[in-house]
């Protein structure tokens, strides 16, 4: 089966998630509501990889707006031996492309990378332009890179990072140096107990195995408690849903994409277009997001989440002051089975426990060997070096 929504060039060496715009190529973010939408411009990251000599192979299938676990609720769900996989991650795993670009707004690419045994990095917020990302959760989503090995991942990450005038949240540095391998011997890594305990035994075992390999690299690994896991998970759910609700409200059937044939007035045009054009998970997210922004709930939900975000940032900085990196699971299970969309909202929330901290705070998160390494802001080099060392030890 094809993992592409649209294949562009069979000789292409880089795939991009369908949440990224490619000029004149259908870009639908896995949603019926963007049916027929071909953008007038490409995402900045797409321009950059093309300028660096890469050829885009096609648009990889994603779950509607990237809101699900790994892409199970797209127009064409991808599975492998009855287990769910992410399309871009699987393309990389199968060696059809050297790398892929994906948008991480609630952990889907990280989970997909873990399931397909490839690497994915969600870099520090603000280091990669979001221009041309079909937006959901602007305050925490970042474009990241999938690759089969750390060397390839570093190469592509260097290409896409750096300031872009077209994104008001893009940080000022023109480029970032990910090439130097840092000395990892003597560095300290902590495992967050609260994230370990909620995972399956098989996941626990792979975290332990990874920790063992780190120790072989001369890294000190310790378990610590971080009591803001639940707060971070809930806060990101609230912010993510609210921003998604806001960003998806532009799909109203008036300007582009799907328009319902069933309407007699403007209200029916809006309601029926969105009812028919969006899936259950997206609608659940929109309703949740609308609720937390409503007058009666804003202070207790949205505003409180902004305050929780500041606290988590403060606490995570403190933790990353004591340790050089954090090691955690990225999924609760080693594989996901197909399930009913009615359960999706809860399932995604449960699994976001492992990924939310990085989206909420903006710190870099790298999935490698089926586990997650998080580091300080702009400290991608260190987590990449740790993963590279483990890669070497594993060979």
């Amino acid at each position: 089966m094809s993992y592409y929504v649209t294949e562009i060039d069979t000789k292409g060496n880089i795939a991009v998630d369908d949440t990224l715009l490619v000029k004149d190529v259908l870009s639908t973010a896995g949603s019926h509501i963007l049916e027929g939408f071909a953008p007038l411009f490409s995402a900045e990251v797409v321009e950059r990889v093309q300028k660096a000599g890469y050829t885009v192979s096609g648009k990889a299938n994603v779950g509607e707006f990237g809101l699900d676990l790994v892409g199970e609720f797209s127009n064409k769900a991808a599975t492998k031996d009855g287990s769910l996989v992410g399309a871009a991650a699987q393309l990389v795993a199968e060696g059809s492309v050297k790398a892929a670009l994906g948008v991480d707004l609630n952990g889907a690419p990280r989970r997909a990378a873990a399931l397909s045994k490839v690497n994915f990095i969600k870099p520090t917020y603000g280091t990669v332009s979001r221009y041309g990302v079909i937006p959901c959760a602007c305050s925490g989503e970042q474009v990241g890179v999938y690759a089969a090995n750390i060397a390839d991942l570093k190469q592509v990450l260097s290409v896409i990072s750096g300031h872009d005038d077209k994104d008001g949240t893009s940080l000022q540095h023109d480029s970032y140096d990910y090439d130097t391998d840092l000395e990892v011997k003597g560095t300290k890594v902590c495992i967050i107990k609260e994230l370990l305990s909620s995972a399956d035994d098989s996941v626990k075992a792979s975290v332990s195995a990874y920790a063992e390999k780190l120790r072989k690299c001369g890294v000190v690994v310790e378990e610590v408690s971080f009591d803001m896991v639940n707060a971070a998970q809930t806060a990101w759910q609230i912010l993510m849903a609210a921003e998604t609700c806001n960003n998806l409200s532009r799909y109203d059937g008036v300007k582009f994409g799907y328009r319902t044939p069933n309407y007699n007035n403007i209200d029916e045009l809006y309601v029926n277009t969105r009812t028919e054009g969006l899936n259950f998970l997206t609608k659940a997210t929109i309703i949740y997001g609308s609720d937390v922004l409503s007058k009666g709930r804003y202070n207790d939900c949205y505003d409180k989440s902004l305050r929780v975000r500041r606290l988590v940032v403060e606490q995570i900085k403190k933790l990353l002051g004591d340790f050089d990196a954090i090691l955690t699971p990225v999924c609760s299970k080693a594989e996901y089975k197909p399930y009913d969309i009615a359960e999706a909202f809860t399932k995604v929330f449960d699994e976001s426990r492992y990924t939310a901290i990085a989206n909420l705070t903006g710190i870099p998160a790298l999935v490698s060997g089926g586990v997650q390494l998080m580091g300080s802001y702009f400290d991608e080099s260190l987590i990449l070096s740790l993963a590279k060392c483990v890669e070497r030890v594993s060979e």
């Binding site: 007038l40 041309g132 994104d167 008001g168 949240t169 409200s249 109203d252 008036v254 300007k255 922004l293």
Partner: protein, 475 residues
């Protein structure tokens, strides 16, 4: 019983920037066709991000300083959510939590005296598009030219107590913003929401409030306020209706207000901070830069002109149009006297414009060219009549004054000696006219003067020529 009316205003003013607030599109006034000034960003396509136009901040701060506001050094943008076809993203970027200016005040003069109006806040926001209803096909079309055009909204405290005060305030804003190049304030570029309530004089609580939405003409605003005041008094005095807090719409043809549907008024806009726009920090350096560029006010300008000897009437005409003051100042800077430049602008330029069915506000002339013409006349290179002719050509066709004189033979070198020669030749070549004149026929003088003028082809000062001719004939 006597009643007191209490009014607060929310005034939207379109800013005179070269581009929209978050994208590079030109302002909607530069558009010819619907959807001429539209890009993926201001038409709401996914993936485009707002990029702040710095000059919007500067104009908003300038307006705030004009209205004696405190400038918030940390200002942020928020998203306001609602569905309407003229709003492409289904949200408007505005400022709710940290507006750019707060706590201002202005004095408003009316026939009944001076009152102080408190300015609660000024915030920046983007405008929405426009719906055009096509009656023929019974459809609505959307024009996004106005989408994302920058606005400021000025919110006053409920400090007005009459329609006259409201009109005086709005007129003052208009002339202040036009003069300061904050806004062109043309038709529709200034729109008002009026909050109005009426209570018996001396009552401690305010009456039930009505909000009349979106009016742009001063005449309508005045009529709407008077209508609403009367409606409230009727209700209070004669129980004609039960007043409820509501939003109303002014119907200019029917001359009355109507309650709007509840659906439009009870919306929850679900405001939240816009994560795509970083907070704007206005440090001392930037604020001082803006202050240094603050335009002088019309009052200051008037005083300056009075000191230069320009008459009150002329000052009034000049300061009504910022453009005229700019031209005058620049011509003066090129070495002409303010008084004479004022006359050239208000008499000669105005005359030429009138002939072309234009107003003084339409005057476009390079100050260097006007200065050149004035100097040529002053140096007697051409006479005033010829000067006017050149001015006409400059205004109408933007010609080069010197080249125009040369091409049309107006550039005769006319020193005293040359004119003397011309006069001598006229006397010599017209013996009949000379003897007629000497014989008492005054009319003959005109023939001789005509001969001089013909040779001079419009150059030279007629009074000088006349005096010289008289002097020679009477010798």
């Amino acid at each position: 019983m006597k009643y007191e009316v209490t009014i607060g205003l929310e005034t939207h003013v379109e800013l005179a920037t070269n581009s929209k607030i978050f994208c590079a599109c030109g302002g909607h006034s530069s558009a010819n066709e619907p959807n001429d000034c539209v890009c993926p960003a201001c038409s709401g396509m996914p993936g485009m991000l707002p990029v702040m136009n710095k000059s919007v901040v500067e104009l908003a701060v300038t307006a705030g300083l004009m209205l004696n506001c405190d400038i918030n050094r940390y200002t942020t943008f928020d998203k306001k959510n609602y569905y309407y076809p003229d709003l492409p993203c289904a949200y408007q970027i505005t400022q709710l939590f940290n507006p750019i200016c707060v706590n201002g005040k202005v004095q408003v003069k009316t026939n009944s005296g001076v009152s102080e109006i408190g300015i609660k806040q000024i915030h920046m926001e983007e405008d929405a598009g426009k719906l055009v209803h096509d009656e023929w096909t019974d459809t609505s079309l959307v024009d996004f030219n106005r989408t994302s055009v920058p606005l400021i909204e000025i919110v006053t405290h409920p400090d007005f107590h009459s329609a006259e005060e409201v009109v005086a305030y709005l007129e003052m804003l208009k002339s202040m913003f036009r003069f300061g190049n904050i806004s062109e304030c043309e038709e529709g570029a200034m729109r008002c929401d009026v909050n109005i309530s009426v209570r018996p004089e001396g009552a401690t609580e305010l009456g039930v409030r009505a909000e009349i939405k979106n009016m742009s003409s001063l005449a309508s605003i005045e009529r709407a306020i008077k209508y609403e005041t009367a409606r409230h008094i009727d209700a209070l005095e004669r129980n004609t209706e039960v007043l409820v807090q509501e939003t109303r719409r002014w119907d200019d043809t029917k001359g009355r207000t109507f309650a709007m549907r509840n659906k439009e008024t009870e919306a929850d806009y679900r405001y939240f901070p816009d994560p795509n726009l970083m907070p704007i920090v206005i440090d001392d350096e930037w604020l001082n830069e803006i202050k240094a560029k603050m335009p002088v006010s019309a009052e200051e300008k008037a005083k300056e002109y009075a000191d230069a000897g320009i008459s009150d009437k002329e000052i009034e005409m000049l300061t009504a149009e910022r453009n005229l003051c700019d031209i005058l100042d620049e011509v003066v800077a090129l070495g002409c006297s303010a008084k004479e430049v004022a006359a050239w602008i208000l008499t000669d330029c105005a005359g030429i414009l009138r002939k072309n069915a234009l107003l003084l506000s339409d005057l476009h002339i390079a100050p260097e060219k006007l200065a050149k013409i004035i100097k040529m006349v002053n140096d007697c290179k051409i006479n005033r009549g010829a000067g006017k002719r050149v001015l006409g050509a400059v205004i109408e066709n933007d010609v080069d004054p010197e080249k125009y004189c040369k091409d049309n033979g107006l550039d005769v070198q006319v020193d005293q000696g040359f004119i003397e020669g011309v006069v001598d030749r006229a006397i010599e070549n017209n013996p009949a006219a000379v003897s007629d004149y000497k014989g008492g026929k005054v009319k003959a003088f005109q023939a001789l003067l005509g001969a001089c003028m013909k040779e001079l082809r419009g150059a030279g000062d007629p009074t000088v020529i006349k005096a010289l001719l008289e002097q020679k004939l009477n010798k």
